[in-house]
Symmetry: C2
Subunit: 340 residues, 2 copies
């Protein structure tokens, strides 16, 4: 395996200094057309390609950002991931992915002062296991953008949607159908369950706004937002004396699990039980029945997050922390509206 071609090799062939070659390669101003052409030719003749590692070291930056999410096989995240990669690539950055499984230690390792630090210039982070307080304890020099329901403590940016309003909207939709025994699946009444709690709040507020009272006994918790938990929670609800006639699920996966249980028990969706989800993943649009849902603008969340992060990376003094709300909308499908 022969040695790689270096700047110096090109310089020698072109008869200029290696610094000039660097200038040409990086498209700096103030290079005469004459030399530019000469260098360009030498570059091509030798098949020179810059050594990213050396450039990184010299510049003290890696040109990479990390995207840290709890689960990659969750459609919501894999759909988001796509948009993040696209946005970052457009700005010349690579994306390093990591899945934490919601493990607090793993999450902490990514935002703490650690040896991985230099591998990325900043982090887009969707926390699950770390609560608000633990989040505050991040490497102060690490540009950080947080996704989801945590709020900013002033040292990082935060991008999310208005969960309370969205949940309220979803619940109101169920009430509009005339349903009155509404269940909610997905509550998480502990420090790291902020997202869930906001949705529960929206669920309650929707009732109150109509002079109704949410049935507290129909609010069921789940450890995760996946199909299995949804299926189990639904089974639990159906085994009660007075099962619900509508269910607000805190994610589409939960909704899919719940629907699976309903159908296999011979119930009809939405006739017997209407179901609405949250996240607008692709599966929900093609399932039987298709799933009504809250659709956050993922593309916007991703591009906003990347933009803010790069701004943070590039600015010498940390810019003021920003709270950003991406828009969302209610999408009505068969699981609440029935067949067309």
């Amino acid at each position: 395996m022969r040695r790689e071609v270096t700047l110096r090799d090109v310089a020698e062939l072109a008869g200029v200094s290696s610094r000039t070659v660097s200038n040409v390669v990086n498209g700096y101003a103030n290079v005469t057309e004459r030399t530019r052409v000469r260098v360009q030719r030498a570059v091509e003749e030798l098949g020179y390609r810059p050594n990213v590692l050396a450039r990184n070291l010299a510049q003290g930056r890696s040109g990479q950002i990390a995207l840290v999410v709890p689960y990659l096989d969750t459609p919501y995240f894999s759909e988001l991931l796509q948009s993040v990669i696209r946005a970052a690539r457009a700005r010349g950055y690579n994306v390093l992915i990591d899945q934490t499984d919601g493990d607090p230690e793993h999450e902490r390792a990514f935002i703490a002062h650690g040896s991985r630090r230099l591998l990325f210039d900043g982090v887009i982070f969707s926390p699950l296991g770390l609560d608000q307080r633990a989040l505050a304890d991040h490497d102060p020099n690490l540009p950080l953008v947080v996704l989801g329901e945590r709020s900013s403590d002033g040292t990082f940016d935060h991008v999310g949607i208005d969960d309370v309003a969205a949940s309220r909207q979803a619940t109101e939709h169920l009430l509009d159908l005339g349903r009155r025994r509404l269940a909610a699946i997905g509550d998480q009444p502990y420090a790291t369950g902020e997202a869930a709690q906001l949705r529960t709040r929206g669920f309650r507020e929707a009732h109150e706004a109509r002079g109704l009272t949410a049935r507290e006994d129909l609010i069921v918790g789940t450890p995760r937002f996946n199909r299995k938990d949804g299926a189990q929670a639904m089974a639990y609800l159906l085994d009660r004396a007075d099962p619900p006639d509508a269910v607000f699920c805190y994610s589409d996966l939960v909704a899919l699990g719940a629907i699976h249980t309903l159908i296999s028990r011979g119930l009809r969706v939405p006739e017997d039980v209407a179901v609405i989800g949250y996240d607008d993943i692709e599966d929900g649009a093609y399932s039987n029945p298709s799933v009504s849902t809250i659709s956050p603008d993922k593309e916007m969340i991703a591009t906003t997050a990347v933009e803010r992060l790069l701004l943070r990376i590039d600015s010498p003094a940390p810019p003021p922390a920003v709270e950003m709300r991406a828009p969302h909308k209610l999408i009505i499908r068969e699981s609440t509206a029935g067949k067309g």
Copy 2:
């Protein structure tokens, strides 16, 4: 922002040479307990963390591998991705992800002699837009492991499952149910459609093995293996004079799309039409009806790929190319067997 602590800083404090500090930090042998402790203490006192960028340059390696797949929001890939990350992390490597959208240019850029080259020490690549010939034209110095249905040309390793056998098994399962008008959805009769063609071959062979003949007019092509294409192809099949009584879909997403069409037309699955998919994605297990499928051992594919790649990266002379077959199994669910 103050300067980072370097090896030299630690060396000074500990009263040893910077090389010794390096030895301690990297756990090299031949360091006396006395010095190790002294250095260790200095490291902690100063909060030293090695600069990965500098290490990379000095060692001429990046400690990263790239995983290049066509689509990240396809559950098959996002599930695979997880396992790859886990396996790589266990061996001290980070994973850089890229999605190509099946664009041949984009794919080529990743395996060709290019400036990104140094960013990763090797690539695990699932080609879609590049055919066998284009694949051969990769940077010979790039350790490469290819996933899917291409076969190796001797310059890279290949990991996949036996598509023909698996497809045959799926088809035989449908025949065992007594169905005789079998359709196949997903054929791609062009250079980059090797995966599809192997599945079609298996479909035909299953018929032949029983002295039957596959209905060529019921083999439908699709540009991609997603829900929408599955839904459309199914609609096309149902509009025929003699619609099929069973369908072999070349991916679970295609199957989910097909089932969606069937149900919305008022047909019963599997009573009227039995459906089997391919890939064993999680959705298929919780859909209504749940989807019978061919389940490739993804965990094994991922770990094998990573292992081979690292072997290739670490060995001075390129090891001989290997063709590896991961096991698969037939999973029978409601879409062929009905409710349990």
